[in-house]
Symmetry: C2
Subunit: 353 residues, 2 copies
């Protein structure tokens, strides 16, 4: 089959690799209908995360179950399934606590499973799914093609934006600031609107992203950053800052901006992978009672709930995909996202060049 | 009247100062029945917080209302009142949000009020209370003398320990770790027990404090610190860490210990004044979804609720006072706490030498 490998900085290749097989009775094989490139995939692409050897890549996919291990109970051949970006058993104490990303037997796409067996990356034609009962969620019916982008968004970005909103305790009537206008930030706007936020300030400098933010429910847009951005938010929110701030970037500057725009007693939900060092303005957090919570999103915990809304058509997170390419052109997808020509690029194995 | 001033490191003097007067119609004058020394008072005492000139000190007191400004509605002459460590109007947006410590018109004992008028410290015979309606809470009846220590504990340490527990979302059945065995840490144990925690691990190396912690509801005591302390907690809690960790110290080591003993998805409630620099293990917080919330405790928000329990006798936070001295011997009180001969020392203006 074809699968994407990263060989080094800016070196993405789609190559022939061995077809996956059922290795454990809890596995299933999924034929990928759609996968995509994540902002975090750009880290090794840009050489920020060093790598030693060619590695399978991609952690978001939806597809069709084609082969089922003998112990699998929750999905069957022909099911359309959504794979969260983390593999989890669904039964350990952390999964039961809703923290599926800390599963005692968990694994990551492109890594190794608990038995040391390699796990396929998502940017390929097929994927072996370990612990399928815990990991996958099947739709009741095979969805229309038009729903595929929104279902794919449930693999990561929509669940991650939702996690930011849940961590910041967004509720009906909340005032919300979203820091970051990538796919996760835009989905965080959508999540905040879905939870009933009254005022949603999207911090974005790009017209195309501002437009999606408004479509998703942003009531205001602030283009300034840093201290000017903080001041602009305070101007909008009666001088007092937001109840909830959703940090969807992960840099030191974005975290400072997030904490700077929260009101006393406010909450920052952070889902941007931290790459700005360990410093937080702890004294300000203390003085103003601003909490920081969140982390790598246990999207499996939110999948059923968000899936219902996608099926019902009440949310369309797939709007963040503004480019669709054949899997074979994965290198172009990375380039488009790296150069910010695309917010998020969808890859379809079934498309021809 | 007599009041305590700090002149410099280890230089505490009880001196004659002018009697306070009603300065604004929202003021009341309180004759202090009891005040005390706080762990945070030791910071200037030890020279950690530099100071330029002799300053009135102390921020915890209970007493009797003796004179009432013309606009005051909620307390009257003769009332026994509890003063939270922060002065607040009770009506601004932050107070309405429960964040009384961020009051738009707030002030601190020993500082200046919103009109620039000096505010008395609590370690004295009398205190002028600005914004009395917002700040003070009166008991229904004059309490027995034996209740005074527990009522005084509501000024700060009990409300602060409770804030740690609330910030970490302690609830019925929670597993809890308390880092710090000072008066606040011990009150945090009591607060966790009061909220229904099932397992409470007190981290303490001192036999006298361990005893109070057990009396307050600690089910386990861990004497080790650092990595050994973290390992000991994990041994006790099935290897997984606590639902809620109450950080009641404020050093870098204590914060690391707190985050290290939380389970994935767990919450750290921090109330120790940060003095360890701005670093937090952000990557671990992200990977394990551990949140950090809390800050300077809005004890006014909790006063009514905790007061009921003190009056009913279901909590006795006053147990943290293990030394009682006349106000005139304030210097001895500081010395006893500095040398760890006393957990917390109560000062009574009415005692003779």
């Amino acid at each position: 089959m074809l699968a994407t490998l990263i060989h080094g900085p800016r070196d993405i290749r789609v190559e022939d690799v061995p077809d996956p097989e059922i290795r454990r009775p809890t596995d299933v094989l999924v034929r990928v209908v759609a996968s995509c490139v994540c902002g975090s995939d750009l880290w090794p692409y840009r050489g920020i995360t060093p790598m030693k050897k060619p590695t399978r890549i991609g952690h978001e996919f939806v597809g069709t179950v084609e082969e089922v291990g003998s112990d699998v109970r929750s999905v069957r051949r022909g099911d359309f399934v959504i794979a969260p970006f983390a593999i989890s058993d669904g039964t350990c104490v952390h999964c039961r606590n809703g923290v599926y990303t800390s599963c005692e037997h968990g694994a990551w796409w492109g890594g190794k499973d608990e038995y040391g067996l390699p796990v396929d990356g998502a940017q390929g034609e097929w994927v072996r799914v370990p612990m399928a009962d815990g990991t996958l969620v099947a739709t009741l019916e095979t969805p229309d093609n038009g729903l595929v982008p929104s279902l794919l968004a449930l693999s990561d970005v929509m669940g991650t934006g939702h996690h930011a909103a849940v961590s910041a305790e967004v509720r009906a009537g909340s005032t919300v600031v979203v820091v970051g206008d990538g796919a996760v930030g835009l989905c965080a706007v959508l999540a905040a609107a879905r939870l009933g936020a009254e005022r949603i300030v999207a911090m974005s400098r790009h017209a195309d992203r501002q437009a999606i933010a408004r479509e998703f429910g942003a009531t205001d847009v602030v283009a300034e950053r840093g201290q000017a951005g903080i001041a602009a938010v305070h101007d909008l929110l009666s001088g007092m800052g937001a109840d909830a701030v959703l940090e969807c970037v992960g840099t030191k500057a974005s975290m400072e901006q997030a904490i700077g725009t929260a009101r006393p007693g406010g909450r920052v939900g952070f889902v941007g992978v931290p790459n700005g060092g360990p410093e937080l303005p702890l004294q300000k957090m203390f003085d103003d009672n601003i909490s920081v919570g969140g982390g790598v999103a246990p999207v499996r915990a939110y999948l059923d709930e968000l899936l219902s809304d996608v099926i019902a058509g009440t949310i369309r997170p797939g709007r963040v995909f503004d480019l669709e390419l054949p899997l074979k052109r994965a290198a172009d997808a990375y380039r488009a996202m790296d150069e910010r020509r695309s917010i998020k690029t969808l890859l379809r194995p079934d498309l021809t060049l």
